[in-house]
Symmetry: C2
Subunit: 120 residues, 2 copies
DNA sequence: CCAGCTACCTAGCGTCACTAGGCTTACAAC
DNA sequence: GTTGTAAGCCTAGTGACGCTAGGTAGCTGG
């Protein structure tokens, strides 16, 4: 699971996290860790800039919240645009994932039987 | 299906293509188009450098071949390392894809019923 | 007081797919 | 014969983006 793999997909999963409930950056990171069974354990330097990017794109917006006896946090929530984008991106994720799987599994579903299967 | 999505996955699908049969660059591009039902229609400027990269990593190697009445082509085929790497990468692809799907579909399996379900 | 956690931010780096261009050879049409 | 089109290969440069490394600040417990 290299770092490059995430490129182009980070925005999507961030939107997905925020679609369940508004959350601040740190919480987003924890949610991601949980929902992915520890496979996405992202550094802050990855997540914060991504959130800023999404806000610039107006797919999310933020508000500062100070919980009782806590320090202030920046809480993000999806905009209408964001929700729409998420649905769209879920579709293109499926399309992409299907395409990759199709290529990866093309003739190697069961490599042992390959010769057998492709025989006339 | 943006361009960024492919990052970190291109090598894997190229290895997969070459695992069925050796092929030259142009043929790899066509195979990819076919096996992905047109979703991967990659420019040469993407594929050739990637093939060179894989050769440097010794996951594939190449030989110049001149077919009857044709011009010479550079034909690539998997090395033992390449075949091993492919198996490994198939695993990490599944892991990655599962994680993304898990996050994407977490609470949005049926978004229409969400409000209903989360109501007190 | 200091360690450690929460919580936020950013400049710079390295990787990588893609753009845009160039080159050569086979084959068909005019 | 030359012009066009497709096959076939290559590479310098660009832009996007995740990550590293570093900083700031508040709260809690020993």
């Amino acid at each position: 699971m290299t770092a490059e793999m995430l490129k182009g997909h980070l925005d999507n999963i961030l939107l997905a996290i925020l679609s369940s409930a508004p959350a601040h950056g740190y919480a987003v990171i924890e949610q991601l860790r949980q929902r992915s069974a520890g496979r996405f354990d992202l550094p802050e330097g990855t997540v914060y800039p991504a959130l800023h990017r999404l806000e610039t794109l107006e797919l999310i917006d933020s508000s500062w919240v100070t919980p009782e006896g806590g320090r202030r946090r920046r809480v993000y929530h999806l905009t209408a645009n964001g929700r729409e984008a998420l649905n769209q991106r879920r579709g293109s994720w499926r399309s992409f994932a299907d395409a990759v799987s199709a290529v990866l599994d093309a003739d190697a579903v069961n490599p042992v039987h390959k010769a057998e299967a492709s025989a006339p």
